[in-house]
């Protein structure tokens, strides 16, 4: 998170949680990245006996197939969208078609006559001046429930809402130019942030041999989760059970309790499987509370799942970012001065912060930032919030500066990077990647090859916070038949967390992963954090390891007499409990567990400092081919070098990097939330005009994961999605010899940049 980010000026309908994590050079002043959760007392350091084993590790770091793979490939895995409860109704929200309007009246009479109609709910009371104005297209106005999904849609359509359309702020440019309607947001359309300044800017520009003045920008994209947001709510008296597609079962429980005014202990949230979140499902959206209220009112369970259009409009987006930059560079390639005015929009009242400059921190620099408010859905953290934007803006500038001093982009970066450190390995990765990618074959800016197909290479770097935090409680249970269960109130958002839970316990107990049953995705398993900021693995695994080792200590006590030794002489390895250095004196796991008796062994663990650390570094190279006759860009190769501390599951960790690269490729080339300039409505709220890569658009991707077991677990989900877009844009620049300074890299922009060059 960037230090220009402030709480929203106007409390949004759904309170935004500031993005967790945050990278080096991007963390708020005085707050360590990946530090403890707000206000929680710092836990004492972990007892060294629980620390990660030095090599060899038998399970952790190996390639373990997802335990839930068979459930997912057969369709047996039940997502929130798949939950059906007895007597369940279907809920549906009525939403504003206008970006800003006053709700004058709501008439349910026609809806009530729709077959199957059961109940209705007013969300924006026309009589309440505090809530009767909608601030973006898709804002909730009312809701209905009916016996089938089709009838719920019919009933929602039949609700007659009378609006008084109000002037809306539609474009960032008009807001900045003072041409947009005023009085829309309590503190104006533009909020000026504080100035961040270091060094002596004037002296810096004096020392420069060349200066560059350019404006760079990135666009708004939406999370576009394949499973849209959705909830199934079932009441029993005043107790609520909710199946939620969420990145945080425990935070969803708190949101239900706060939103409904009921005790947290009365809420159980379940999420066994969820179809993608990318930051948009860290908090329960309004649709969750609407679903609960409809269910309470109807007295039967209600399912409320959003459709694709709603998903685009109301469940968050990545804010836009732009910066007008003046930078100076010395003849030998050191950035002497950096002066930036930046802005961006996170929608109707939400901030749009991003780190700038990104990673490279010239001694003399100044940055002022403005948040621009427009009448669209509110931003939510999206995979490495702020970093892809800061990366694009900074890295394009880097290559432009490198060309001014006629330096190779890698040499130029090496000149301007912070010193090498375990969490800042860019120098090594740049050299290694250059060698592996064939950087020496890269031509200077502009492919001299004849013909219309031009090829180029680009490189960009990333950082991210990650790290662990508590509380994250794990329970380990060993029964007399040898079965092992580990329960954690975490969730698997597609990262492979469920498998990691079992792996970490199996490692501690000397078992195979398949011998441990992981139970997650349910608030009944205790408190654990939301899956945001790449913190899940680092937050949960220490507690799991500690719980498993404590359970093992108890087991050793029961087994020791049978082997004629004291418990501390025993180790667990290879599915046996054996006397240290005397493997012949041992019991199989099953034999050992028979001594447990009827009451299973249970033990608990929590996160503690010492087994995790924060911040990662990575470098990505991209090669792209551009057809200058059509403006079409095709990315042919990407090399991603990434560290994440201790690699837990090599197989699924690699998948995270593939996914990050492809997410960033979409950001660079395809996806774009396009608003109608006149009405402020999104013109592509679907998946055919909201473009996403398909199989034919995917480059060869080589992943080099750097395992750093000595750093403990750090986290991986976000960093690999940061630098790809910039690397692709720079590959395009290298190919065509012209610079596109805004994303996405559409054919139109390619042509425009070529024309400007000519």
């Amino acid at each position: 998170m960037d230090n220009t980010q402030q709480p929203p000026a106007q409390p949004p309908a759904n309170p935004q949680q500031p993005p967790a994590g945050g990278g080096r050079g991007a963390a708020p002043q005085g707050q360590p990245p990946g530090g403890g959760r707000g206000g929680a007392p710092q836990a004492p350091p972990v007892d060294p006996k629980y620390n990660w084993p030095s090599t060899p590790r038998t399970v952790v770091g190996t390639r373990v197939k997802r335990l839930d793979g068979p459930d997912k490939v057969t369709g047996r895995a039940k997502y929130t969208f798949d939950i059906t409860r007895p007597g369940m109704l279907y809920g549906r929200a009525v939403r504003s078609p206008y970006p800003r309007a006053r709700v004058v009246s709501i008439d349910f009479s026609a809806a009530e006559r729709v077959p199957g109609f059961k109940s209705s709910l007013i969300i924006r009371d026309p009589k309440d001046p505090k809530t009767n104005v909608v601030l973006f297209q898709g804002d909730e106005i009312a809701a209905v429930a009916a016996d089938t999904e089709e009838h719920a849609i019919d009933a929602a359509r039949a609700v007659k809402v009378e609006y008084e359309p109000l002037p809306a702020v539609i474009s960032v440019e008009s807001a900045l130019a003072g041409r947009a309607p005023e009085g829309v947001f309590p503190n104006g359309n533009v909020r000026q942030g504080q100035v961040a300044q270091n060094g002596d800017l004037e002296a810096g520009f004096k020392a420069a041999a060349h200066t560059l003045e350019q404006t760079y920008s990135t666009h708004v994209i939406t999370h576009a989760c394949m499973e849209a947001h959705g909830t199934v709510c079932e009441w029993e008296g005043d107790k609520l059970t909710a199946w939620v597609s969420t990145q945080g079962v425990n935070s969803a429980r708190d949101n239900f309790a706060n939103g409904l005014g009921i005790p947290q202990t009365n809420v159980r949230v379940i999420c066994q499987y969820m179809g993608g979140g990318f930051g948009s499902k860290l908090q329960l959206g309004p649709e969750g509370l609407i679903c609960a209220r409809l269910a309470k009112q109807a007295g039967v369970p209600v399912k409320l799942t959003l459709d694709r259009k709603e998903e685009h409009l109301v469940t968050g987006n990545r804010p836009s970012a732009a910066a007008k930059i003046k930078a100076g560079v010395s003849a030998d390639g050191v950035i002497t001065a950096f002066d930036a005015e930046s802005w961006g929009t996170g929608g109707a009242g939400s901030a749009a912060g991003f780190p700038l400059p990104y990673i490279y921190l010239p001694a003399n620099r100044r940055r002022t930032h403005k948040d621009v408010f427009i009448n669209t859905g509110l931003q939510r953290p999206m995979r490495a919030p702020g970093h892809p934007q800061g990366s694009f803006i900074t890295e394009i500038m880097m290559d432009e500066l490198a060309d001014l001093v006629k330096m190779d982009p890698i040499e130029f970066r090496l000149k301007n990077l912070p010193p090498e450190a375990p969490n800042a390995m860019w120098r090594s990765y740049l050299r290694e990647g250059a060698e592996a990618f064939g950087w020496s074959k890269r031509h200077p800016t502009g492919d001299p090859a004849p013909g219309s197909i031009k090829t180029g290479m680009g490189v960009a770097i990333c950082t991210w916070g990650g790290g662990g935090r508590g509380p994250s409680i794990a329970h380990c249970e060993i029964a007399s038949d040898g079965s092992v269960i580990v329960r954690v109130g975490t969730q698997d958002i597609g990262t492979g967390q469920r498998t990691v839970v079992a792996m970490v316990a199996a490692e501690a107990l000397g078992l195979q992963t398949s011998q441990v049953t992981p139970e997650i995705g349910d608030t009944q398993y205790g408190v654990s954090g939301g899956s945001g900021g790449s913190t899940t693995a680092a937050s949960t695994t220490p507690g799991i390891r500690i719980a498993a080792l404590k359970a093992l200590e108890a087991l050793k006590e029961k087994v020791a007499p049978a082997l004629g030794v004291t418990a501390d002489a025993l180790v667990a390895a290879g599915g046996r409990i054996q006397v240290k250095d005397t493997p012949s004196k041992s019991l199989s796991w099953a034999e050992a567990c028979k001594r447990i008796g009827p009451q299973p062994i249970t033990a608990q663990g929590d996160w503690a400092p010492g087994m995790t650390s924060a911040t990662t570094s990575g470098v990505q190279f991209a090669e792209a081919k551009v057809d200058i006759k059509t403006g079409i860009v095709r990315v042919t190769r990407v090399l991603a070098i990434q560290d994440c501390g201790l690699v837990l599951n090599q197989l699924t960790a690699e998948s995270q990097v593939y996914g990050g690269v492809i997410g960033s490729l979409n950001f660079a080339l395809y996806e774009d939330r396009i608003l109608d300039r006149r009405t402020g409505q999104m013109v592509n709220p679907n998946l055919e005009w909201y473009l996403l890569a398909g199989m034919s658009d995917i480059p060869q991707i080589d992943v080099r994961l750097k395992n750093m077991p000595e750093r403990g677990v750090v986290g991986l989900g976000e960093p690999p999605t940061v630098p790809t877009a910039a690397a692709i844009a720079l590959a395009v620049r290298n190919a065509i010899g012209a610079t596109v300074r805004s994303l996405p890299l559409t054919p139109a922009k390619i042509f425009e940049s070529l024309q400007q060059k000519a």
């Binding site: 499973e227 179809g275 993608g276 990262t495 492979g496 593939y658 996914g659 998946l687």
Partner: protein
């Protein structure tokens, strides 16, 4: 808010959403027996009896004619394996095989596929639980993350490999271009599908 069409006889709601012309759908279906023209604000014909042959079993369902194959299975039976991602034939999560051809089940009316052989992901593994080679390959290669698009990718892959058992890389790419994975698992899906040999027509 788009004005709602009140005429009975229209069907698929996405036609209304996208095209905004109920006449298109009405032309496809016409009036269905059982439509109650006297219902105030009637929005469609009542449910009718349909028989669907899904995964080798005969399912008798009472469905409104506008109900899609996908919603028929997902909301009226426990066959929730195939998913609804976009509901208009763009993401492929709903992909099923009907009479040997892959279809977007979200854009296929249940009433249209009566008498046809419908295969969803729920019926792909053998009765004893043994995974289809494509399912096994997805597990082995970690060709899935959140898994929501996976059923559609698997059915698209099965459809492709039944037609082209030795599909070339280009055929695999083209054959799976109708499916979207937001987690970004494409490279491994490609690897998984490329590794499967000798798929026979199901």
């Amino acid at each position: 808010m788009p004005k709602r069409k009140d005429e009975p006889g229209f069907s698929r709601r996405s036609f209304l959403k996208t095209v905004g012309a109920s006449g298109v759908a009405a032309g496809v279906l016409g009036k269905t027996p059982g439509a109650d023209a006297q219902t105030v604000n009637a929005v469609g014909p009542d449910a009718v009896r349909m028989t669907l042959n899904v995964n080798g079993k005969s399912l008798v369902l009472q469905l409104e004619p506008r109900v899609t194959l996908l919603d028929a299975l997902r909301n009226r039976t426990d066959l929730t394996g195939n998913k609804r991602g976009c509901d208009r034939g763009a993401c492929g999560a709903c992909t099923m095989i009907v009479d040997g051809r892959t279809v977007y089940a979200c854009s296929t009316l249940a009433i249209e596929v009566q008498g046809k052989k419908i295969r969803s992901v729920d019926g792909l593994a053998s009765a004893n639980g043994q995974l289809h080679p494509v399912q096994q390959a997805f597990c082995d290669k970690d060709a899935l993350m959140c898994g929501f698009c996976t059923p559609g990718f698997i059915m698209a892959s099965v459809g492709l490999l039944e037609k082209h058992p030795n599909a070339t890389p280009d055929q695999i790419k083209k054959g799976l271009d109708g499916n979207i994975c937001r987690c970004g698992t494409f490279n491994r899906i490609f690897e998984a599908v490329s590794s499967v040999k000798g798929v026979r027509r199901g």
